[in-house]
Symmetry: C2
Subunit: 365 residues, 2 copies
């Protein structure tokens, strides 16, 4: 990865916004610029000045590893559990006069803000969206990693669905998929995989329970993994057979809505216009009130990032963006259906990154 | 669980601190008071006034489920992806005059703080530590859940270690343990399980890599799960045989330091005094500079919570607290060793909650 090129873009951003420096703590941004992975219980701080000074502050426990593996030369350590852990940052700031500092507002807590204010009088400016915009267009190298991550999710989904049978519990299906992903070298799931069957699907529950799978239910399975930092995300709807005509109709409508929205993807179309394709199709079929979420979201180093395919999102799609497309229908007493694929925006349209079987009305055995 | 009793304690806390209300967003606190589990990508808001008004604000997608399952009567929904999602909270605040509001400073981002300030002029007061203190003493019911979570971690550790052999990759060992935990009905891992072998152990790396396990290396495995919300956390150090005397010595010192610290646990001793037992033992053996982290931490609905067993933590242990004890030694070019167990503070001392085999100098086959 061209980390230096990314930092150059960040410095240009600071310059354009009249900022003297950036203090970054969001782990996806940290990984984007440094290449470093951290355990979920730890965090680190990246300082970049508009003049090009780069200092990477990491917990003492990570110091040796980062020193060995990271391309950045000025690595400093701070004591993780010490109330005075920001002392090294104080030193950096006193060496780099800054009046306006870019930070990620959603990543810094009030506690963190108070600590930063103890070490600097600079005005804090939110650059979260600018960084998400930077990250939203993927390089070929990133697309290959996302493609590989999607391939593992495909394989996990396929293996899990091949193993499903009546009486199996929701969490057992999740476990099969997770096991495939971990054995393929995934760093972990991109979120807790969840199987939702029957009532759990139309609620929707959004996690796997101990409930047993039955015939006559619509069953959703949503999951993905992280491979070398990059996330995948895929959903399939299936049944063990015995669906009513109304349930089959839901299945069909969700599938058609998704296919139409995918087909609409090309450079120049806005996120809200892609959303509209799915939303209008579902409304026209009489289920408008039963589609309570967005049509899709970007993904990369985070599982939810820009661009969003939803009402109010005017951002226009560009080649190199990667999004999910996942309109869903949830009807109390009947069931729920959602097909989610990952889609790359190409020069002249789109390319599907996930391909696990979609036509799963009856996989019972 | 006696959720009403917990809310009563919160109300008493507000009253004692002269606060009119609390706005909680930390997911462990939300689960503690409401019993509700949420997908990692979603969040919710619990409002509790000192007068006893309780309003639980949840994303539209979770509304039906929470309405069905939660003991709280006033459940309201907000649109997750809508910039105006705090409008329902605004309504709650205009119905409940509040001049001083307790919030969790580490949980609310600058963005969240700005949104709250848009809907209220109230002064925000940090009650994070008070809530952690409330949660630090576990009821019998909670201890049973933690014990069950620890039992699954024990089983996963044991199965993984039984399967380990030369040439296996670090992440494959993690995958075995994770698979056991998921099939036992765990909600997920309490953190990404990690195996660190050879150089990765002494760095320490804190995640599993693709590195193959070899004879002559010291290998650490740290992992745990979440069962019905409650976390477990256990570490074992092992080798596939062929250790040098110096490596064996590290192994022995880390084990003895841990055993001494565990034995010191009883009501009335402070976190820093338990830490001192391990730290002084290791220093006395000449490895003081090679123990770069805390001796232990509380755990419950969060994997790291109060009390801490570390320098500067004067909090005194009480019956019902649950902590890990995990002093570690990391020596460049040699190896690393750490044994971590979960310990319940009892009326007259301590009780170990984890029991997977600890004497693992040679498990090679």
């Amino acid at each position: 990865m061209n980390f230096e090129g990314r930092i150059e873009k960040l410095i240009k951003l600071l310059s354009n916004k009249g900022l003297d420096a950036a203090i970054l703590t969001n782990r996806s941004n940290i990984r984007y610029f440094t290449g470093m992975r951290f355990n979920i219980t730890s965090f680190s701080i990246l300082f970049v000045s508009e003049k090009g000074n780069i200092v990477f502050l990491v917990p003492t426990l990570d110091y040796k590893r980062v020193k060995k593996d990271c391309w950045i030369r000025d690595i400093r350590q701070f004591p993780e559990d010490n109330p005075n852990y920001l002392a090294p940052l104080k030193k950096v700031l006193s060496d780099n006069m800054a009046c306006q500092i870019g930070v990620e507002f959603p990543a810094i807590s009030i506690e963190g803000e108070n600590l930063i204010k103890e070490v600097t009088n600079a005005i804090l400016v939110n650059i979260d969206n600018d960084l998400l915009t930077l990250r939203s267009i993927k390089t070929k190298e990133e697309v290959e990693l996302i493609r590989a991550s999607a391939k593992i999710a495909d394989e996990a989904m396929t293996k899990a669905l091949e193993s499903v049978k009546e009486g199996m519990r929701e969490y057992e299906v999740s476990a099969i998929a997770l096991n495939v992903m971990m054995n393929e070298g995934a760093e972990g799931p991109s979120f807790e995989p969840f199987v939702m069957s029957g009532e759990n699907a139309w609620l929707p529950q959004r996690f796997s329970s101990k409930k047993e799978l039955k015939r006559g239910e619509m069953i959703l399975f949503d999951m993905g993994c992280i491979l070398d930092g990059y996330c995948s995300d895929i959903t399939r709807t299936f049944s063990l057979g015995g669906l009513s005509d109304e349930q089959k109709e839901l299945f069909k409508i969700a599938g058609e809505a998704q296919k139409s929205a995918v087909a609409a993807i090309k450079p120049g179309i806005s996120g809200e216009d892609v959303d509209k394709v799915a939303r209008e199709y579902i409304a026209q079929k009489g289920y408008g009130k039963h589609f309570p979420h967005l049509t899709g979201h970007g993904l990369g180093l985070s599982v939810h990032e820009m661009p969003m395919l939803d009402k109010g999102f005017e951002v226009v799609l560009e080649p190199g963006m990667v999004v999910t497309v996942e309109p869903g229908i949830y009807v109390e007493g009947i069931g729920a259906a959602r097909i989610e694929d990952m889609v790359l925006v190409t020069e002249d349209g789109f390319s599907l990154l996930t391909s696990a079987p979609r036509d799963l009305i009856d996989i019972g055995r």
